[in-house]
């Protein structure tokens, strides 16, 4: 167990959905994924790349070996299906991604795919469920390879890929996403036409298990988290503050239009607003991760005439993002007037926040209770494919598994016991949903 976290009373093997065979299968799978994708430092499975395809094929083969149906959609997402007694009913779906960042960890994505497979196999052993159950292995979740907004596989499913996505370039090969998708056998025709490959009413609900990428579960000493919402974000990659360059000794304060001081004031104002908004209970994080004065012009003895910087803010709440955006524009105007500078916020890239379904979360909470798994109700700071599902109106939720060293690095530290606790909770919830006639409200 990580840290000095108290151990929890895991349900006895006899009552657990995930029996010893399934647990061994999961351990095997993690090992195989690690072996095939180890790059000397960490795990590398490129978005729409060969390693990703091979990892997905392992899941395909396993599904077939266990008598499940498999198929690839036009975007080359893999769907593994356990047919229900009434195949016409909307399906109970789960899944995650199998690509990784360069030199990433073995659990980010894979934990969700493997736990979904376990859930299908466990349900199958109990006899055919009422509703069909589907595992979807989504392609291209990580933004590391192409930059910009990612979730290519899930967005393609719902006809949401844009020309600018398709023409974005791979950071190593320099080829476009379209090129690499074609190499993986993607049928680009419906995708370019932004035609959905599946409609939201195909789904009864969607659940994704994922390792936690923050420190909350470690701090709260809980093995499992249930996610209430996924933060959206607004990104300005390049904000420019334009003042007036001047001699640092000769020009008095009131005649200066110092771009760096103006930017600093803006950032401190933003920080102050942020503090207040947290006091009011709003969900918000703000970051300015890049700040640059112009190398060709800047000097110790020169009042800076220009500075560029990045600005990113995230919230679970669309309204908060909107109001905060207005606030920033306002501050830019006021500080600009006062200091005789101009702020140009540049391009604004928006990723919508997503609310998880209260009903699916409460289903998971009940499953955790019966499985004897302590869990924490929490938001997700990082983005996930599940946001795309939720914003399609599909009742969705996520299960987080405690993980010690963050993600997107080779030191991800998920304890297998924690993984099985999370997988058990998800399997129970999925199995419950698959045998329930009632509809779920998003």
């Amino acid at each position: 167990m990580a840290n000095d976290a108290p151990t929890f009373e895991a349900s006895s093997p006899s009552s657990a959905l995930l029996n010893a065979d399934l647990r061994n299968l999961a351990r095997d799978l993690f090992d195989r994924f690690r072996e095939m994708s180890f790059d000397g430092v960490g795990i590398s499975r490129e978005t729409y790349g060969l390693g990703e395809t091979q990892a997905i094929e392992i899941i395909e083969k396993l599904g077939q070996d266990h008598g499940l149906e498999t198929r690839w959609d036009a975007a080359r997402n893999l769907i593994v299906r356990l047919e229900g007694r009434d195949p016409a009913l909307p399906v109970v779906a789960s899944g995650s991604h199998l690509d990784s960042v360069p030199q990433g960890g073995n659990f980010d994505g894979a934990a969700g795919v493997i736990s979904s497979l376990l859930a299908l196999l466990a349900a199958n052993e109990k006899g055919q469920p009422l509703r069909s159950m589907e595992l979807t292995v989504l392609r291209g979740e990580e933004s590391a390879w192409y930059g910009g907004p990612c979730y290519f596989g899930s967005r393609a499913m719902f006809g949401l890929l844009t020309d600018s996505d398709l023409s974005s370039r791979h950071r190593v090969s320099g080829e476009t996403l379209e090129h690499h998708m074609a190499s993986c056998g993607v049928d680009l025709e419906p995708i370019k036409a932004a035609r959905p490959l599946v409609t939201p009413d195909h789904f009864h609900c969607w659940i994704e298990l994922h390792i936690e990428q923050g420190p909350v579960l470690i701090a709260r000493q809980k093995p499992v988290g249930l996610v209430t919402g996924i933060r959206g974000n607004v990104r300005h990659r390049r904000v420019t503050c334009q003042g007036e360059a001047a001699h640092s000794g000769a020009v008095p304060r009131w005649l200066r239009h110092d771009a760096v001081l103006a930017m600093s004031e803006l950032l401190m104002r933003i920080d102050e607003h942020w503090r207040i908004l947290l006091e009011w209970g709003e969900d918000l994080v703000v970051t300015s991760g890049i700040v640059e004065t112009n190398k060709d012009e800047h000097a110790v003895s020169r009042v800076p005439g220009e500075v560029t910087f990045a600005l990113e803010y995230r919230s679970q709440d669309t309204k908060t993002l909107e109001s905060f955006g207005n606030l920033i524009e306002n501050e830019c105007r006021q500080i600009g007037e006062r200091r005789g500078v101009t702020f140009d916020l540049g391009e604004k890239v928006y990723t919508e926040p997503a609310r998880m379904s209260e009903n699916v979360v409460s289903m998971l909470r009940k499953a955790a209770e019966t499985a004897g798994v302590p869990c924490e109700i929490m938001p997700s700071g990082a983005g996930h494919d599940s946001a795309i599902f939720a914003n399609q109106g599909i009742p969705s939720a996520m299960v987080f598994v405690r993980n010690d060293k963050g993600s997107h690095n080779p030191h991800e530290a998920m304890e297998m016991e924690d993984f099985f606790a999370g997988a058990e909770v998800m399997a129970r919830a999925l199995s419950h949903a698959a045998n329930d006639e009632g509809e779920i409200e998003a």
Partner: protein, 217 residues
């Protein structure tokens, strides 16, 4: 001398007696935050530490407010962050009316983002600050209150330079002109200081420009 003038002169005399009128005729002038250069600087907020003169100043301020605004024409007092707040508090307390604080900058969003306190929308509000130079900051506070849906019926300051262009409409208890007039009567300023102040009040923009400050708003 009118009632109004005598009140203004009495306040000016108080400022001189309390030595919060500073002059500089040689070397670097004073610079206000707005960029104006000035040979005179009134640090009226020092008076909050002197209970007797503070009380006297307050008596005069209330007299002036009664005469120029009228007690029945406002529902509440607003103080400007920061130096306006103690004076506004004392006025509100003497009159037993509600008090709010108008902030320099908004904190967060919503109606009260730039105000502390609470009031009904449409509350008639008298805005109070210690000093005004060119009135620009008062506009900020007025906007802050209006954003909170207050009806700002007047702006009252204890001291106004009253010499800069672009001056917002305010009621001042006393002005630089009053200070100069009283100083002359009681011999409070030496000749150099007095003539510098006179030159300044005649054409503040030119004086400021000549001494390295801004020349217009």
């Amino acid at each position: 001398m009118s009632e109004k003038t005598s009140v203004a002169r009495e306040a000016a005399e108080l400022l001189l007696q309390e030595k919060v009128v500073y002059t500089r005729t040689g070397g670097d002038p004073f610079f206000f935050s707005s960029g104006w250069a000035s040979p005179v600087f009134i640090d009226i907020k020092r008076l909050i530490s002197r209970p007797e003169s503070r009380a006297r100043l307050l008596d005069l301020a209330l007299e002036r407010i009664e005469a120029d605004v009228g007690r029945t024409s406002f529902d509440q007092i607003a103080g400007c962050e920061l130096a306006g707040v103690p004076f506004a508090s004392m006025v509100a307390d003497r009159l037993s009316v509600p008090l709010v604080v108008a902030l320099k900058q908004a904190k967060g969003f919503g109606r009260f983002a730039q105000c502390e306190g609470d009031f009904e929308s449409g509350a008639r509000t008298l805005l109070i600050d210690d000093v005004t130079t060119d009135g620009r900051t008062k506009t900020t506070f007025k906007r802050a209150l209006e954003r909170a849906e207050a009806d700002v019926v007047g702006i009252f300051v204890l001291f106004a330079y009253n010499i800069f262009p672009g001056h917002a409409e305010t009621i001042a208890l006393t002005t630089l002109g009053d200070v100069i007039a009283v100083a002359e009567n009681i011999g409070a300023l030496d000749e150099t200081a007095r003539s510098a102040l006179e030159a300044y009040t005649e054409d503040a923009a030119t004086w400021s420009r000549k001494h390295g400050g801004i020349g217009k708003t």
